[in-house]
């Protein structure tokens, strides 16, 4: 018994020693745990606090409403329309396909949309609403709303989308908005927003930053799956600024309709202020289609159209100005003193220079003509002669003064400067000497000379306003912001010379032999100064002549002459200048002058410069909810 007890004592002794060792070990390890907690919860607390907040809080950008664009009478040209879209949420729909099928019975849902949503649903989280269709009509919205109880997971959401109430009418002035491309990303976080749209053309592009506004921010609490639990705080952004244009949309619409099926361009300008009342380029595109998103087929149709509906022909289309250039040649000659208004030039229907023979448009010739008659009848030989006398460099200098060959500075993207050639220009670009025959051709606005319809309108305005350097503008300035509008500088042209030109231009319309005498204004009391122009695109070849093609009308459309016309009125007290180009329209007198006269008369009737309320009188607060 005693022995057994001793043995047990030995066991107990070893047990006690070792159990205490392990007990101490346990205590030490628990101490390690406490130390670890101290490290994580005290020493590293700040770092993990930040990480926990990063987990919990998401910052959502809020897109501000884009600034509206108004015409000079305050009519909305570009605005933000509520865009109703129908969405479906997988989590709430018991069966996505069933919900979509039921929805398809109520409103049109294409098979393509269905398969797109089913595919997207697999990638997205169950609580993310997927857009089924956008731009629902009111009727569709109400049909869905009535049936909502039978459509689990389906909801109507409202967003803002850019809308252009006048559709194609203002297309080239306004431009359009569409989704941001990779190369357009800047540090503005708004551009990163999915579905955010920016101006891609027209004033939408030029004034994009002002129209865009600045982003608002919403801090939301999210869970691990990204579901929003609630909003913590919200900073509203700054809405985009309102943009007031000089355009009179009613006049613009009239001009567009006057063009009908023809493609071309018209510009109506206030000769004193340079305000552009209408800027037309036909055919046009519908900017609403870009907001909505073009289908590939629509896009292909737009870019493959040979009449170039995407091109703003007024500012980026260049044409040989033809006879509308003759005022520049005449003024240059008068200014240089190489001819007087009364000196006559004999026109036998052609002009010889060395071995070259230069034709007048009238084969039988014009006889003895002075400057007024030469303008009235657009005698080419007269201008060959004076061009030869004054030389190309002085013609170009005068053309530049009148606004040709230089950018006008209008608030539109990628404006073209056209071309007014000089001897040094030819040497520099072609490495060839200027030849005198080229001066003759340039003197009647052919050859190298190129101009935009907008430049032709500027030229007419400068001729009309007594030689002041007005520049075209599309945006109305606030008097408070810019002070008194600065009087345009004088170009230093002789009043007398301008009167001679004006008289010639008046006779183009009102003279017995004027090239535009057939297109009288309905009101005979309105005195109009005009000038026709016909720009050769391609000569009728000898082969074509032999096969019976004599007339422009027999040629394919794209080889016919461009028809041009510039004018201003009232001639005695000018207010508006108009320039019209009808692409491949044939002759200026037949195709362009009637269009220009109708637009001019409508302009005078509406008198947008005189009747529009001053900008300051309108609401100073340009922003709307």
């Amino acid at each position: 018994m005693v022995m057994k007890s001793d043995r047990d004592q030995e066991r107990q002794r070893v047990f006690t020693r070792r159990a205490l060792m392990i007990g101490a070990g346990q205590l030490a390890l628990t101490g390690v745990l406490a130390g670890r907690l101290y490290y994580l919860q005290v020493m590293e607390q700040e770092r993990y606090d930040t990480l926990a907040e990063d987990n919990r809080v998401n910052v959502k950008l809020l897109a501000p409403p884009r600034g509206e664009i108004l015409d000079r009478f305050g009519r909305k040209l570009a605005t933000n329309r509520q865009n109703y879209r129908v969405t479906v949420t997988r989590e709430q729909a018991k069966d996505l396909r069933v919900s979509l099928d039921r929805l398809a019975e109520i409103v049109e849902v294409s098979d393509r949309d269905v398969s797109r949503i089913l595919k997207e649903a697999k990638r997205r989280r169950a609580f993310v609403p997927l857009t089924v269709r956008e731009n629902l009509s009111w009727e569709e919205v109400s049909r869905i709303e009535v049936n909502i109880p039978d459509l689990p997971g389906v909801a109507i959401e409202v967003g803002l989308s850019r809308s252009y109430p006048f559709g194609t009418d203002g297309a080239h002035v306004l431009g359009y908005v569409s989704e941001v491309s990779e190369s357009e990303l800047t540090d503005d976080p708004l551009l990163q927003l999915p579905g955010f749209r920016i101006g891609k053309n027209g004033v939408e592009k030029v004034y994009d930053e002002a129209l865009r506004g600045s982003a608002g921010r919403s801090h939301v609490e999210v869970n691990a799956l990204g579901r929003i639990i609630g909003e913590l705080e919200r900073h509203d952004g700054q809405s985009g600024q309102r943009l007031d244009l000089t355009i009179d949309i009613a006049l613009q619409k009239f001009a567009v309709e006057r063009f009908g099926e023809e493609s071309g361009s018209a510009v109506v300008m206030d000769v004193h202020t340079g305000e552009v009342m209408a800027l037309v380029s036909t055919p046009a595109f519908d900017p609403n289609a870009f907001s909505r998103g073009l289908t590939p087929a629509e896009w292909d149709a737009l870019i493959s159209n040979e009449r170039g509906p995407l091109t703003n022909k007024a500012a980026t289309g260049v044409y040989p100005p033809g006879s509308t250039f003759k005022m520049a040649t005449a003024l240059a000659a008068l200014d240089a003193g190489v001819i007087t208004a009364d000196q006559r030039v004999w026109c036998p229907g052609h002009y010889k220079l060395g071995t070259g023979l230069f034709h007048c448009w009238r084969k039988q010739g014009h006889g003895h003509v002075d400057m007024r008659e030469a303008l009235e009848q657009s005698c080419d030989v007269y201008f060959y002669e004076i061009a030869k006398r004054v030389g190309i460099d002085r013609i170009t200098a005068m053309a530049n003064k009148l606004g040709l060959g230089l950018e006008t500075g209008i608030e539109l993207p990628s404006e073209k400067r056209g071309l007014t050639p000089t001897t040094s220009w030819k040497q520099a670009t072609r490495g060839q000497k200027w030849v005198q025959g080229e001066t003759l051709i340039a003197g009647i606005g052919q050859g190298f000379v190129l101009a935009t319809p907008l430049q032709l309108a500027v030229m007419s305005a400068r001729l009309a306003n007594g030689g002041l350097a007005v520049s075209p503008t599309l945006v109305r300035r606030r008097p408070a912001e810019d002070g008194e509008p600065a009087e345009p500088e004088s170009l230093g042209l002789s009043k007398r010379h301008l009167d001679i030109i004006r008289q010639g231009m008046v006779d183009v319309v009102h003279g017995d032999r004027g090239t535009a005498r057939h297109t009288k204004m309905t009101d005979p009391d309105i005195l109009v100064a005009g000038k026709t122009g016909t720009a050769q695109v391609r000569r009728i070849t000898m082969a074509e002549r032999r096969s019976g093609i004599r007339d422009q009308e027999d040629l394919p459309w794209k080889f016919r002459h461009h028809a041009l016309y510039v004018c201003f009125a009232p001639a005695d007290q000018p207010k508006y200048a108009v320039a019209v180009v009808v692409e491949h329209g044939g002759s200026g007198s037949k195709a362009a002058a009637p269009v220009a006269h109708d637009i001019l008369e409508e302009t005078l009737r509406r008198d947008p410069a005189g009747t529009a309320p001053p900008l300051a009188a309108r609401s100073e607060e340009p922003r709307e909810g």
Binding site: R7, F15, I22, T30, Q41
Partner: protein, 384 residues
């Protein structure tokens, strides 16, 4: 009875009333407190609802603590008599799920008892302590020095370990091994033998690595550098550390843990419940909880040292080690000290088996305390 004389000092029979008086009610209260904390955390984990966890956990605890007290009041000689049977019964259950798992074509680790799912591997942790305590009770100090006598207990540990590894459940297998090793150690097995086995074990590590399943390897690799893959395998550990760290000293407040409530914290009602407690109550709450557990552990060690029979010593000690391993592995895991091995925090985490086996273990320790003055012969209660 003749036994009375042979047992000398110790009382041999205790009335039920005497046992109830001897029961350490302070420890019972401590256990109730821990379970109450667990229920509160489960209430928070459900976003302030008794459903689906807190209420069920409370009911289980009610059943469990009743069982614990019943076990505590059982005569230790009765328990000793049934110790081997308990061990082999648990082993049979383990083999049973192994076969059922194979038949079912998956790694089934539990038996569905409708009320809860019984995990035989958890039961085994208590059973192996019972079995080893019973075995070493019968060995003299000299016997423990002989290799022949060491073979049966080593087999008793290795057999369930192998079965659990096959499930595969690396964490539980290692815990079984550690429980076994520490009982062998305190039973008096010579130190150099441990050194030998330890070195052999180290040498076998590369071989063991090749036997690990891919997910087990991934867990260990993730542990080495959790931040390298924050949305993948390291996500759990990283989010747990963020929750802990952002809890700070005093926490974000009850039911205000953003990491837990916004679901950044995985498994917040089971393995990561300690993280949630530490997020909501801060370091103060976490260390407080550790202190409560430490008191239970200290009590277990005290009972082991005070017991006058080897069975009671080893039983109390082994079960204390079991509780400690649960606690340490779980907390070390959620604080990123060791790889994620899927061990719950006893009495706090949601889950049936772990709570019941831990309560059973504490019941046995309380019983060893009540019967600590019993002297029992080496050949056990059957010897007379």
């Amino acid at each position: 009875m003749a036994m009375k004389e042979t047992m000398g000092l110790g009382e041999t029979e205790l009335t039920l009333g005497r046992k109830i008086a001897l029961l350490n009610w302070a420890i019972v209260l401590l256990v109730v407190m821990l379970a109450a904390i667990g229920c509160a955390m489960l209430f928070s984990a459900a976003g302030g609802s008794w459903d689906p966890w807190a209420a069920r956990q409370a009911i289980r605890f009610g059943v469990g603590i009743t069982g614990m007290i019943i076990v505590a009041l059982m005569d230790i000689r009765f328990i000793m008599r049934w110790a081997y049977l308990a061990y082999f019964g648990a082993l049979a259950l383990l083999i049973g799920v192994e076969l059922a798992g194979e038949v079912g074509g998956g790694a089934q680790r539990w038996i569905d008892l409708k009320v809860f799912k019984l995990q035989p591997s958890e039961v085994m942790k208590v059973a192996v302590v019972l079995g080893l305590a019973r075995y070493f009770h019968g060995l003299t100090h000299e016997d423990t020095g002989r290799i022949v006598y060491l073979l049966p207990p080593i087999l008793m540990v290795l057999a369930p370990m192998a079965l659990v590894l096959r499930q595969p459940d690396l964490g539980t297998a290692l815990i079984l091994g550690m429980i076994g090793a520490s009982i062998l150690f305190v039973a008096g097995v010579r130190l150099w033998k441990f050194a030998l086995v330890g070195m052999a074990g180290l040498a076998a590590l590369p071989i063991a690595w090749s036997f690990l399943r891919d997910y087990q390897k991934a867990r260990i690799m993730t542990f080495v550098n959790p931040e390298s893959d924050p949305l993948g395998a390291g996500y759990h550990i990283l989010q747990s550390k963020i929750a802990l760290g952002s809890g700070g000293v005093f926490g974000k407040g009850f039911m205000n843990g953003s990491q837990a409530h916004l679901d950044f914290l995985p498994e917040k009602q089971t393995d990561f419940i300690f993280t949630m407690l530490a997020e909501e109550f801060g370091m103060a709450g976490a260390v407080g909880l550790l202190a409560l557990f430490l008191m239970v552990l200290a009590y277990g060690l005290f009972v082991a040292l005070q017991s006058r029979n080897q069975f009671g010593r080893l039983l109390a000690f082994g079960l204390t080690i079991n509780l400690f391993l649960y606690l340490f592995i779980n907390v070390a895991m959620v604080t990123g000290l060791i790889p994620v091995v899927g061990v719950p925090l006893p009495l706090i985490s949601y889950g049936g088996t772990a709570m019941l086996t831990v309560l059973l273990g504490i019941g046995l320790v309380l019983g060893a305390d009540i019967h600590r003055d019993f002297k029992i012969g080496r050949r056990g209660p059957e010897e007379d």
